[in-house]
Symmetry: C2
Subunit: 127 residues, 2 copies
DNA sequence: GTACTTGCAAAGATTTTGCTTCCAA
DNA sequence: TTGGAAGCAAAATCTTTGCAAGTAC
């Protein structure tokens, strides 16, 4: 556990929004200007591998980058507005049931699930 | 409707597996060796924009590329085995219910949904 | 004829790798 | 002290852009 990792983990956990690798790097550089971009990628890969962060694409509203969030105790769905770009989160017991159904019917042991919906949010659909 | 587009669409629709941009390009070049990679990217962007193909990440088992499939009448979930890399598809009425719940509760008009699960398939979990 | 599409080359962006140095345990 | 981690530079991917030439309708 190096201080670089501690810093990156702390930024991810306290982030109010989903950060991509570069945004994470820029925040980290505020605290430690010598921290290298490669370290960010390597740390994210490790956290992802151990299931400590979830990787999101958020429907690729801004190109091919990935976003990261600390693993939540309860799974949630991301709703990305294709017009204004707002990201909402949505929790549902149906989602939990769906996961259970997959595990039982396919005998598939789920480690991570990503649900992302693209569409128009309540504000944008009225316009 | 150019012959390049016709060819690319035909390959996507008849593909037995999910193709990424480069794989699609390679297949297309078999028929039309002059077809450019850029045309593939542009055509995929157009098909995606008009909702004719779905873009998948399949948990990024092989790096940051995207995979494409012709839009199916019924939505389905992709299960990616983190060990052997096999991709399974899964259909469920719970998934349809979940979409309806999101549309009603959040007044969010869904255009595309992507559900991808990573984990261990029945064969790999036993080892 | 004209607006849209393609091909080509080059650039941009993201992510990975090799290797040396450094540091946490 | 030592194995893993960080930094640096460079490469490897993947994707987008500008522009001239071509083509569907």
């Amino acid at each position: 556990m190096t201080h670089q990792r501690r810093l990156l983990i702390q930024i991810i956990q306290s982030a109010e929004s989903h950060l991509d690798a570069i945004a994470l790097w820029e925040r980290a550089r505020g605290q430690d200007p010598t921290l290298n971009k490669v370290t960010v990628y390597r740390t994210l890969a490790m956290l992802k591998k151990y299931g400590l962060v979830d990787e999101l694409d958020l429907m690729h509203l801004e190109g091919g980058k990935h976003f990261y969030e600390a693993k939540a105790s309860r799974g949630h769905i991301h709703l990305a507005c294709l017009k204004c770009g707002r990201i909402q989160e949505f929790e549902s017991s149906l989602f939990e049931k769906l996961k259970g159904q997959i595990e039982r019917q396919r005998r598939f042991s789920i480690k991570v699930v990503r649900v992302e919906a693209g569409g128009y949010c309540d504000k944008c659909r009225e316009q």
